[in-house]
Symmetry: none
Subunit: 401 residues, 2 copies
């Protein structure tokens, strides 16, 4: 049973407001056994006060023991089963740089590589060429012309770039051209199915012209293409929840993920304070607000415990601006944990807090990993947050008579 089958059938509209505040990588770990996590260390009077009239729990992004990337982490929070809905690597890469994919697009992740005199790959990442050197190459590759197809080339970090082919009848299923080893030439693009033959042909033509354009380069004189993918077919928030939704994010990746589920991207905020202003300005126009805060993740990735603590305190300071608007349902969570101790995304349940008038207060006093474990939401899969949000907002009818 698809959860969206239930939300599609049971949702109803009212004038409630739901706020989903996502502190990326919120969950953490102590730096030594018996210590406190970043969140437990941080002074969070506003979040603690919310706990005292809310219900808490630990959100499992995918399944126990599975650490997610940003894509599946957010899909889970948005209520899209991250094991069912998969965003192709090309589409995620394009989304991450803010490229707005359309229905006729195939997105492809490109890598520059080094080819020897015989055309065999001697370095799969072109010596990890720095971004300053690789960015102009992407601009150069825009000279590629393919009849009937619009070609976009965008630089990404170091040896990476994105190609988007736009045209009629372009299927998204083409095998990678990266042979995953050196000493052999790149593979030719091969279509997985007949519907993708035109894409494979266009990719072959792209490679032919691009290799000519790169011929004079020392390091980046070749390329491989990976992760061919059409725009993922995600039903919209309006379709599955009956919600008019807005995203207030700073980074392109999170705007892109929100756009894929049909949220409007509102404002041009660069700071959390500005995000709060955008929220206020748009309060009357939407039912649902996704607010993304990046720095709890990036400080965790850096292994910077004390800086992550500070960023959590910055987040806490923004809470009153949200509560002042009187949301019907206010959720604070993360898309995954990013413990400074691990310097990476992790699988640990994410501290989660839901406040509404009917949330069944659970006696939690402070917002932290251990308190959340004993909370009324229990340890639950992230994909259930949206049905919970809808129900707490009075937007869900009952299942069966």
């Amino acid at each position: 049973m698809d959860l969206h089958q239930l939300t599609r059938e049971l949702n109803s509209k009212n004038d409630s407001k739901i706020v989903l505040l996502v502190a990326d990588g919120l969950g953490g770990l102590p730096m030594e056994p018996g210590g406190l996590t970043e969140l437990e260390t941080a002074k969070t009077p506003n979040l603690d006060a919310l706990c005292q009239r809310g219900v808490c729990g630990g959100s499992i992004p995918i399944k126990p023991g599975i650490a997610p990337g940003s894509g599946p982490g957010h899909l889970g929070l948005f209520g899209y089963d991250p094991l069912q809905y998969v965003i192709g690597r090309g589409a995620l890469e394009a989304t991450g740089i803010g490229f707005e994919l359309g229905p006729k697009d195939v997105a492809i992740r490109g890598n520059y590589c080094t080819l020897d005199a015989a055309g065999k790959i001697s370095d799969r990442r072109a010596g990890r060429i720095p971004s300053e050197e690789s960015a102009p190459l992407a601009v150069r590759l825009r000279q590629v012309k393919i009849p009937g197809i619009e070609v976009f080339v965008e630089p990404v970090k170091e040896h990476r770039f994105v190609v988007v082919l736009r045209g009629e009848g372009l299927g998204g299923d083409v095998h990678d051209t990266d042979p995953q080893k050196t000493g052999v030439p790149p593979l030719a693009p091969r279509a997985v199915n007949a519907a993708s033959q035109k894409t494979a042909d266009a990719a072959a033509e792209f490679i032919r012209q691009a290799t000519k354009l790169l011929a004079g380069e020392k390091k980046a004189n070749g390329l491989t293409l990976r992760g061919f993918s059409a725009k993922p077919a995600l039903p919209s928030y309006e379709e599955v929840y009956g919600l008019k939704a807005a995203a207030i994010a700073v980074y392109p990746m999170y705007k892109g993920l929100a756009r894929l589920v049909g949220m409007d991207i509102v404002g041009k905020a660069q700071t959390l304070t500005e995000q709060m202003e955008v929220l206020k300005e748009n309060w009357d126009k939407y039912d649902f607000f996704f607010i993304h805060f990046k720095y709890t993740d990036s400080t965790g990735e850096d292994g910077n415990f004390s800086e992550k603590v500070k960023r959590i305190e910055e987040l806490d300071a923004a809470v009153p601006a949200i509560t002042a608007l009187g949301p019907t349902v206010f959720i604070v969570t993360g898309d995954h944990s990013t413990p400074s101790f691990l310097k990476s995304h992790s699988w640990h349940p994410v501290p989660t807090l839901l406040v509404s008038d009917c949330c069944r207060y659970d006696g939690t006093k402070t917002f932290g990993e251990r308190d959340c474990l004993r909370g009324g939401l229990g340890i639950f899969e992230a994909k259930y947050l949206m049905p919970l949000a809808l129900s707490n907002a009075g937007r869900m009818g009952k299942y069966g008579a």
Copy 2:
């Protein structure tokens, strides 16, 4: 993996007794943040004493955030995945009025409607005609005769009635005739598949004759038919658990639901005290007893917090009559929450208590929402209660060698 595949393979018989006491809509909410729920407010010395030698938890009827109707709520408690086993609307309506469906039956929910001179619907609910006026119409419709098919018509509340067609080869898949709007005539019954063509034809004939019989009525001069459904194919308690099961309920709906899973309906109790007498009388004849107590739900639906508290105390007072019989496993739970605060069924986990000699006591002191959250059963889906009951009764072998 179907849970019943496991219970079918692993169950074994012994002379244990299992009691499932269902307080309908048991779970609640405080009336203000930080307050106590109905169950937390009620004085429940007997249930608290059971907690002190039992294990507690919070039962999720369907999935987090999904509030169930009585049908799916009870199926979950009975261990039938409520998303897998769906009882059609017609079958549930028939069940609710105590009509015992047989294998050759198709149950249909009927609505009286008002037709204008052109035969178009002007009121889909016949002005919500009162039950006193509508009940005689159902009796009149029993005059309908269809060759080779037995026709039953039973009154329900206000503009509603139930039709059951009984005969050979009647498939249950026919589209609703209710166009869901006014200004158009009712739709003709259309079969969804070839196996239901005979049903569609019989329904058309029913409508033809019934419309004649209703022609003189001012409000209820027409009808629509909805929720065509055969008797749901639910395996019996004997089949899936090896249990000879009895139901001790007052209301037809719960007797009907129990009958659908093969329980015997025993006694004619009208009060909880009488239900306890029926239990005692039948103690030696069955392995499993389902006892249904309605009033924790109806008081919650009324928003009557203090009356719900009283009903919980009434329930508590019945507990010694059960423990006196020495059940091997005694479970107290609800099919869903019905907080007085919401005046409706809700999605919140239902306080649940299981007592047996091997239940692993969890230190819970009192029976209430917040205590149950910290209990040894955790927050679990209702469908797992039956395997837990069987295991605690020594009726389940191990899975694999």
